[in-house]
Amino acid sequence: MRDRIIEILSGVRADVDFEKETELVSGNILESFDIVDIVAELDDEFDIEIGPKELKAENFDSVEAIEALVERLMGDE
């Protein structure tokens, strides 16, 4: 899953080293436009529904955080 998430992230922003960054949102690396793209792709790929309530820095600051969010939402289904 991690590889697929990185692929999606890199598809949206090729210029960011997602393996390393841990402040993607709180460090203003990802713009809100990017987040919307990423959410749409994650929803499609993993058949989940990421709602506005999940759009907080702590859920999107690193690949690990995104992975945890996706896993949690897949478990909710």
Partner: protein, 531 residues
């Protein structure tokens, strides 16, 4: 002065209680601090609530009732929303629908109160204009309603509270006192910041004793805010009407007006926010920052991450994301993707949401077309930036220029600087037509002889000019230090005590000597308090 006159003056002062009035610092704040400290910990939030209501009533009179009624309504609605969320007897989908319906009732009611107090005349007058176009002119009798203090700010805070409870991010507070205090806390009621319940609540309701470091750092922050407000903004203020309310055909006057108003507004608003944050800090409450060196932003979008931050983040969390991720918008985006490809689809959802954000931003500032234009102005620039950023970076690579090179940074700074001051020019313009005339004159009649010949007629003496521009130089120097993470406060703290005290005394004297006040002078109203 006899006792009667003194009491009379005191009453006049009291009626004028606001941040920049010394009354706030000399009486209201110290008395609140002392009473707070002398009260038992569990009752301290009542002291803060009482002080907040006195503050509110002294500026807004009986309209305090509106704030209290809305607090009760919000308190009750949040509990109702939470009750639905916890009701496991109904199915998840039905529960969500019921909860969203209740949330919608809450939000719409709050917005109706806001519209009722602030926008009815605007709506009425525009209805008249439209009806005239159709040849059946209607009449509208102006209501000229006075709005409760800070209604634009606390309405947004109330909406964020209800939404966060519905999102199950926070629990609904069972205490009415807590909710009422969150929606009326005196430092932030006039101009924000638009804080979130989740961030505020702990320290605000804890009733912790006042700590020496919080007290000193709070007062230092207040001193810094007073410096920006009284030494710069208020000294510059008398020149602004002369620049904006004269003729609109001189480009030099228009450009200087745009610049001067931008400085006045930034110093007034960010200075007041320093006072707010400093006042809250005294009670151990660390409020969200509202400005982080906005003029160092790299583009218009970044500027709004640094200017009136809490308004921007409110719109991001409660309009931009929900609209972008709404099912109809996502379905529409997919259609666009199939027809026009990923490139266009990438911008579809965010652009729809962005439009609503900036429309709301303009309307939020008040019932004027110039404000709505201001919102649309930033919508256009941020939209263009989003489209052009990639090609611009590709162009830089082609000419072998790094994004962080001095040339690119200077280019970005100048571009953004003009975007900001022209935006502020429209914001301040008397009417939309006047704004357009001023804008045109910058291109058709840019000369500075008229400005220079009339520099003495700007209601500012030489002394005021020196205050403003020397003060501005100090703020720029401090901003550069902050932007480059120079530890200003730590350096000050490490100075020997006599030097440190001497430093703060000098600061206080600078404010007293260079500040715009004195006999016959009434402190300027806070610009952002009118929104």
């Amino acid at each position: 002065m006899n006792t009667g006159e003194f009491i009379n003056d005191l009453i006049l002062w009291w009626g004028d209680l606001s941040y920049s009035v010394w009354m706030y610092f000399a009486l209201f704040l110290p008395v609140t601090v002392i009473v707070y400290q002398l009260t038992a910990s569990r009752h301290r939030k009542l002291v803060l609530l009482g002080a907040s209501w006195i503050f509110f009533a002294s500026l807004s009179g009986w309209l305090l009732i509106v704030n209290i009624a809305e607090s009760v309504f919000v308190w009750k609605m949040a509990l109702e929303i939470e009750k639905i969320s916890k009701d496991k007897s109904i199915k998840r989908k039905e529960r969500a629908a019921k909860r969203n319906k209740t949330l919608a009732v809450g939000i719409v009611s709050l917005l109706l109160v806001l519209v009722g107090f602030k926008y009815l005349d605007f709506l009425g007058l525009n209805m008249v204009r439209i009806s005239e176009l159709f040849g059946h002119p209607l009449n509208w009798k102006l209501l000229n309603l006075l709005a409760p203090l800070g209604i634009s700010y606390y309405t947004l805070m109330a909406i964020s509270y209800l939404t966060d409870v519905a999102r199950e991010d926070i629990e609904a507070d069972k205490s009415l006192v807590n909710v009422a205090l969150y929606l009326s806390f005196f430092p932030k009621i006039v101009e924000g910041p638009i804080t979130r319940y989740g961030e505020d609540s702990k320290a605000l309701f804890a009733g912790n004793p006042i700590k020496y470091t919080d007290l000193t750092q709070g007062y230092q922050r207040i001193a810094w805010g007073l410096f920006k407000k009284i030494v710069i903004a208020d000294q510059l203020a008398p020149s602004i009407p002369a620049l904006f309310e004269g003729n609109y055909t001189d480009g030099g006057v228009a450009l200087y007006g745009a610049f001067a108003f931008t400085i006045q507004e930034y110093m007034d608003f960010s200075g007041s926010i320093d006072i707010v944050i400093g006042s809250a800090r005294i009670f151990g409450i660390r409020m969200a920052e509202n400005f982080t060196q906005p003029f160092f932003a790299k583009n218009a979008s970044d500027f709004w991450h640094r200017w009136h931050i809490t308004l921007g983040s409110f719109f991001r969390d409660y309009i931009f994301y929900p609209v972008s991720l709404a099912k109809p918008v996502m379905r529409f985006t997919k259609k666009v993707k199939n027809i026009a490809g990923q490139g266009v689809a990438h911008f579809t959802a965010p652009t729809i949401a962005l439009f609503l954000v900036w429309l709301s931003n303009g309307i939020w500032h008040g019932p004027r077309w110039t404000y709505i234009f201001y919102g649309m102005y930033y919508f256009v620039f941020i939209f263009i930036e989003n489209i052009l950023e990639e090609p611009f970076l590709a162009f830089l690579r082609k000419i072998h220029l790094r994004e962080d090179s001095a040339a690119v940074r200077v280019f970005r700074f100048i571009k953004l600087f003009f975007i900001i001051i022209i935006g502020e020019m429209f914001f301040r313009a008397q009417t939309m037509e006047a704004g357009i005339e001023m804008f045109k004159s910058i291109f058709t009649n840019l000369r500075f002889d008229m400005l220079l010949a009339n520099i003495g007629n700007l209601n500012m003496d030489f002394y005021a000019f020196v205050s403003v521009y020397a003060g501005l130089a100090v703020v720029i120097a401090v901003s550069i230090m902050k932007e480059t993470h120079f530890p200003i406060r730590a350096k000050l703290e490490s100075l020997p005590i006599p030097v440190r005290f001497a430093f703060w005394y000098v600061c206080i004297f600078v404010i007293i000597i260079f500040g715009a006040y004195g006999t016959g002078y009434s402190s300027e109203d806070l610009i952002y308090a009118q929104f």
